[in-house]
Symmetry: none
């Protein structure tokens, strides 16, 4: 029962395999899946956003393309700061989940830890108005993120 969007996401990820980036034709891909071209944009927006660790570049006109670039690992200290900035004082569940998935893909947290993080920010935990949930989620998530990076730091020391 895989949804179109899920299939397209899979297809793209298989295309990328270990490459840091790939280029594709939006219209071709759409045709391959028999869908509207804008469907591709939807998939890119919901599964290959910056929060997911990707950057999209593209060009229109003849010979146009869409390039999907996997973001490089930055220094961890900077990365934490970037993430905290992104979280700010309010964040919705999808964005938080995207960030967590990204941490997992970068092997910065184990699978179990990722699931724990998701459990901590899940909306169903909070019986509150939506906007209040976002604010609270940001607060909890911040704390957890900081801990993730502490864990990583310590692991480093232990390695030595």
């Amino acid at each position: 029962m895989a949804q179109l969007s899920d299939s397209i996401e899979q297809f793209i990820k298989e295309l990328m395999s270990d490459d840091a980036h790939i280029e594709l034709r939006r219209n071709e891909l759409a045709q391959h899946f028999g869908c509207a071209p804008s469907q591709i944009n939807y998939v890119l927006a919901t599964r290959f956003s910056v929060d997911h660790g990707y950057i999209i570049e593209s060009r229109r006109g003849g010979g146009g393309y869409v390039r999907i670039v996997r973001m490089q690992n930055r220094g961890e200290k900077n990365f934490l700061e970037t993430l905290l900035e992104r979280v700010g004082t309010s964040i919705d569940e999808d964005t938080a989940n995207a960030i967590i998935s990204n941490l997992y893909e970068r092997k910065m947290v184990t699978r179990n830890e990722a699931l724990l993080l998701k459990a901590g920010v899940a909306r169903n935990a909070l019986a509150l108005p939506l906007t209040a949930k976002d604010v609270l989620r940001a607060a909890v998530f911040r704390n957890m993120l900081i801990q993730v990076f502490r864990n990583i730091e310590e692991g480093k020391r232990d390695d030595v």
Copy 2:
């Protein structure tokens, strides 16, 4: 005569048979039983709750589904129930930390995971009146505890 809810419960359990989890369409099932879709939620809430040893996951929108996951391992499940009972609807930070430390001592979570849990329930994460904090902490903690037990289980699925 058997209540509708009982029939639906039976039906779902037969569907599951030996599987650790199944996926179903809420609307389809409701139609099959000629009842309101929300009836399905009622059955899930009253017969497939965490204390019954199940976890419900779902997704809305096109291709949406309801997934029912059976938690294995009776011994651990009972322990989870005990913990959830202890957490109740409100819990202070020290008590939560004590529980987390206990989980760590029992080797049910790694040290990193324990630290993550503590970060999630830390009082400074919650900018609210004290009593409200305890209530929210309980909600978040509950979610995380359930996740801990899922992590422990075998036959884990791979979607993060």
